[in-house]
């Protein structure tokens, strides 16, 4: 006869885990189907999900960026930047460029992690113009690896004529940025739970190829706030929508402005979104 002490604990643990439900109710399948019928698939922009043609395009874009950086360093005087191309979206109607020089990096709201002193920002005439309306603002990625770039800091600050949001990354590369007007519903990724976002309009800040979590080390690289309410003229709230599968998304709630510009900076890699006052 077997006694309790003779039994293998691992065998008992497996037996314990073997017990339990193994069927999903039909009602759940039906609810999933109904949700799928209401939901569009997200277009994939990351290199691990793109077509060969798209990847070739990214390589070409990277080459263009490299040339732009060299030209900028040689003739520009200021730090190199990569601006969103307004011509990529014909419906964009750029407003007049602001006449003020951008001030130093924002300091109103910062995460707990210390910031790296960034390189000089480009002068105003080097910045892309503000684009107004419902169009998407895009900044192409500069990464050349399949691994996501790691988010280290998020900063928001008010400047003369605009509010600025900065996402800073480890190293010199930047992921792809898309800023799109979003009428909701606002949900967290991947939980699908609803989230309240203050501001009107609200933009989805879709950053593809980035993460605040280093899967190699198992450590978070971004430990700052995921919900900013800086109380600025235009930026009402910036709240993380999700950080999952190398897609680091945020909702940006704004106080009425529909005029944005976005660009990338290097040394360290940064994505910048300016909201015009």
């Amino acid at each position: 006869m077997t006694t309790r002490d003779d039994r293998n604990p691992d065998q008992l643990i497996r037996a314990f885990l073997d017990e339990g439900p193994e069927d999903l109710r039909d009602q759940v399948y039906d609810e999933v189907r109904a949700e799928v019928d209401r939901t569009d698939q997200r277009t994939s922009f990351a290199p691990w999900g793109i077509s060969l043609t798209r990847f070739a395009g990214l390589i070409a874009a990277t080459a263009v960026v490299a040339v732009a950086v060299i030209v900028g360093l040689t003739f520009g005087g200021g730090g190199p930047f990569i601006g969103g191309d307004p011509s990529a979206s014909p419906s964009l109607a750029p407003s007049a460029e602001p006449s003020v020089e951008p001030s130093a990096e924002p300091s109103v709201e910062s995460s707990a992690s210390p910031s790296i002193e960034p390189s000089a920002e480009p002068s105003t005439d080097q910045l892309p113009p503000f684009a107004c309306g419902d169009s998407e603002t895009i900044v192409e990625a500069t990464y050349t690896d399949f691994a996501p770039v790691l988010l280290t800091d998020v900063r928001i600050a008010g400047h003369d004529g605009y509010d600025r949001v900065v996402f800073e990354y480890e190293g010199d590369l930047t992921p792809e940025l898309r800023v799109t007007p979003d009428d909701g519903p606002y949900i967290q990724n991947p939980s699908g739970l609803p989230v309240d976002v203050n501001g009107d309009p609200v933009y989805l800040v879709n950053v593809t190829g980035a993460s605040g979590y280093d899967t190699e080390s198992g450590e978070r690289t971004y430990t700052g706030s995921t919900d900013f309410e800086p109380g600025l003229d235009q930026v009402v709230q910036l709240i993380q929508q999700g950080d999952f599968e190398a897609v680091n998304n945020w909702y940006l709630g704004v106080n009425g402005s529909t005029c944005l510009r976005a660009f990338a900076l290097t040394n360290p890699g940064r994505l910048v979104i300016d909201v015009q006052h």
């Binding site: 691992d10 643990i13 314990f16 339990g20 759940v28 991947p190 699908g192």
Partner: protein
């Protein structure tokens, strides 16, 4: 548990936006997802919510899946993250503990006594959801540790330490039970 073979062609069809193809994918994978989520969360309703969220998320993000043959590991990774979110949600709004319904058990193991189940259940609930996930993927799904680490997106060393801690905690609960209960107790529940 035995995995269901998912035809890559069906995944590719769904990646092109075919909702009926995805419906087939969901129905092929749903039971296995529910079994995993139930064991991690120890709550049928929460598990259903996690599976539903994971399947909808999978549909939305399906085009980012590079290798159609890796659909199931990819889905399980989404599912685990959904389980983490559900566990956090439960911690926020309820401290009540609900046991898995006994009448829904797929089969009862004669090897386990009522006390075994009670002790293991208590010890299991004291584990973090991250530790539970490693335990379930390794012991229940039957994945080797490197594959567990890959599916969870963590280092193999992290997976190993989580498994070690979880195993130790469950073994300790059984040993404590053995020390306090007479060996002649009835074995089956």
């Amino acid at each position: 548990m035995q995995p269901t073979a998912i035809p890559p062609a069906l995944v590719e069809q769904a990646q092109r936006g075919d909702r009926d193809a995805f419906d087939q994918l969901a129905r092929s994978s749903g039971d296995r997802c529910q079994a995993i989520a139930c064991r991690i969360l120890r709550d049928t309703d929460l598990a259903e919510d996690a599976v539903q969220a994971a399947l909808v998320q999978a549909w939305r993000e399906l085009r980012s899946l590079k290798d159609a043959a890796r659909f199931e590991p990819w889905l399980h990774r989404i599912l685990i993250r959904a389980c983490y979110a559900e566990a956090k949600r439960r911690r926020r709004w309820s401290s009540a503990i609900r046991m898995l319904p006994v009448d829904l058990a797929s089969e009862r193991n004669d090897i386990l006594t009522v006390d075994d189940r009670d002790q293991l259940e208590r010890a299991f609930r004291r584990l973090t959801v991250e530790q539970r996930s490693v335990l379930v993927l390794h012991h229940y799904v039957g994945l080797p540790l490197p594959e567990v680490a890959d599916r969870l997106g963590i280092n193999p060393g992290t997976a190993k330490s989580r498994l070690h801690y979880a195993n130790s905690a469950l073994r300790a609960s059984l040993e404590a039970d053995a020390r306090t209960e007479p060996p002649s107790q009835e074995r089956t529940a």
